[in-house]
């Protein structure tokens, strides 16, 4: 069953801007799905329509088989939303934010208290339950929004740039939380500008640009399309000139670091053999740039002229 189905979804704002130009999209139940796109591509509009914050101009949204117009309450009950910006009442305590949210979803008080405790503990916020929310740090506020979105046990969790502006430590801990939530059976749709985040967390990806879906496939087959990978090699001994190897492009970054572009068919074994033959000892290597980022840029830049 699909967790989400969008059919011919369009949105034209009052000022005439056409944010969505007929989107079709399916997200399978249980998936960890990335919805990517540059600023102004239509991601937030799509998320807004799915979560009832924006009225669609035409088209349909179905959540776990429930049409958002005809079975509004059932469809909405399946969704938990973590928005881009903090949008809870900053004068409420953390606990009351979650209890109110549970109440809005019709959760009985006793169950709401249990779910609140569970979600706050899962997000490592239980000791902050009686704190007025405006006194929390930025990272904690983001975790409150995730806990709030989970309190009614949604089957579909939508995370709209949940790690924007948080430090790397918090981001990593949030990734772990999201993976745990997904492993417990919740379908997750993630929008993010950190493509490394999408690559490491998501199994399926859709790229939206200029109001259209320009790519929709599973992450592994998308990454398999990458023909050339870029690496940075750290060397044991300094070099004055970059070596020349047929089939690879090599540039000297410093006297002990090389940048290498390796075609997939060439292979890393052959590269290392050639380097060994030239007495070049490699002590470590890393991807020069994020693979998904490279593909993303290729897809966005390969748009036919005039579509911008």
């Amino acid at each position: 069953m699909n967790a989400l189905s969008l059919r011919n979804l369009t949105k034209i704002y009052n000022n005439g801007f056409e944010a969505l130009k007929g989107i079709d999209l399916d997200v399978e139940a249980g998936d960890f799905f990335a919805l990517l796109g540059p600023n102004g591509a239509g991601k937030s509009t799509a998320i807004g329509i799915i979560s009832s914050l924006v009225n669609a101009t035409s088209g349909s949204v179905s959540v776990f088989g429930h049409d958002l117009k005809r079975e509004r309450a059932k469809a909405k009950s399946c969704i938990g939303l973590v928005p881009q910006e903090v949008n809870f009442n900053q004068f409420d305590t953390v606990k009351s934010i979650l209890l109110n949210q549970a109440g809005y979803y019709g959760t009985p008080r006793k169950l709401a208290l249990q779910r609140t405790e569970y979600c706050l503990k899962q997000m490592d916020l239980w000791d902050k339950r009686d704190t007025i929310s405006r006194r929390l740090s930025g990272g904690m506020k983001r975790r409150v929004m995730i806990a709030r979105a989970l309190v009614h046990a949604p089957k579909l969790l939508i995370l709209d740039e949940p790690t924007a502006g948080v430090d790397i430590e918090i981001r990593r801990s949030m990734w772990q939380m999201m993976q745990e939530v997904n492993q417990q059976g919740t379908t997750i749709i993630l929008t993010t500008h950190y493509l490394e985040e999408a690559e490491s967390l998501c199994r399926t990806i859709a790229i939206i640009d200029d109001g259209r879906i320009i790519e929709h496939s599973d992450m592994s087959s998308l990454l398999a399309r990458l023909h050339i990978e870029h690496f940075v090699l750290d060397l044991a001994h300094p070099l004055t000139v970059a070596p020349t190897i047929d089939g690879c492009q090599i540039e000297r970054i410093t006297d002990k670091a090389l940048s290498v572009a390796v075609p997939k068919e060439y292979g890393l074994n052959k590269l290392f053999s050639e380097l060994s033959a030239r007495n070049i000892e490699v002590i470590s290597m890393k991807n020069k740039s994020n693979r998904l980022e490279q593909l993303f840029m290729d897809l966005i830049e390969s748009k036919p002229a005039g579509e911008q």
Binding site: S51, K76, S77, I79, E85, N89, N100, Q101, G103, G106
Partner: protein, 254 residues
């Protein structure tokens, strides 16, 4: 889907909100009306004598009580719902499976409860200055509830359409307060010259204050039935308009 839980959640949230900020919501009407009773009722009122057979202090108590109910039921909903919009936590309600009528009834109930609570506080203050024997408890309570409902609904519409904090202060300052003062709080409409009596009859607050005064002390300038028709008409019209605004997402959705 059990909407009674969502409704209860909204109402309790609203009650906690105005109780948490009681120095802004419950204390000022107590002080202001105590001054009204002292200055207008006691110091000036003793020189005025009676109106329609009632002592001046007794005559102004119902108007001051209902004026407090009007301003506080309106203020509660307009400030609470506009803050919800301003802080964007309206999104919590829009994303949740709550029908529009539950959102509306939750906020309006909060306004009614605060309006009535302030009405009780002001009535208790008035008892320091005079002894009121309730003439008709049913009319008193029903007019108080209906009036609070009308102005809670009006506050809700104001909050939906408001785009800034200025927009939520215009109606209370430039419409509600003048209409309340001109609605016969301190005088009988019979005391006005002919043309002003006719103009005053177009003021709905005049009907509400007079009906409430009849309920409390048995004195009125107008036909009580008209008050029920007018308030009922306002409630139906404002409810339908509020639901239309929510359905269209005007002021709250893109």
């Amino acid at each position: 889907m059990n909407y009674s839980i969502a409704f209860r959640t909204l109402v309790i949230k609203e009650i906690f909100r105005f109780i948490r900020i009681w120095p802004q919501t419950l204390l000022p009407p107590a002080i202001t009306t105590a001054l009204y009773f002292l200055i207008f009722g006691k110091l000036i009122g003793d020189r005025i004598g009676t109106i329609s057979g009632a002592g001046y202090m007794d005559y102004i108590v119902p108007g001051i009580v209902l004026m407090s109910v009007i301003s506080h039921s309106y203020a509660n909903v307009v400030s609470s719902f506009y803050s919800t919009k301003f802080q964007r936590n309206i999104e919590e309600l829009l994303v949740a499976p709550i029908p529009n009528w539950v959102i509306l009834s939750g906020y309006v109930s909060g306004g009614i409860i605060r309006g009535l609570l302030v009405g009780v506080v002001v009535t208790l203050i008035s008892l320091l200055f005079t002894a009121i024997k309730v003439h008709h408890i049913g009319i008193t309570l029903s007019i108080a509830v209906l009036t609070a409902t009308v102005f809670s609904l009006a506050g809700f519409i104001n909050a939906i359409l408001a785009e800034s904090f200025d927009d939520i202060s215009i109606i209370p300052n430039f419409v509600l307060t003048p209409l309340s003062y001109l609605g016969g709080v301190f005088y009988s409409v019979d005391m006005l010259p002919g043309i002003w009596q006719t103009i005053s009859m177009g003021n709905p607050i005049l009907y509400m204050i007079n009906a409430f005064r009849y309920g409390l002390i048995g004195v009125t300038d107008i036909d009580i039935q008209m008050t029920f028709i007018i308030t009922g008409g306002f409630i139906v019209t404002l409810t339908l308009f509020s639901l239309y605004l929510l359905h269209k997402g005007i002021g709250i959705k893109n």
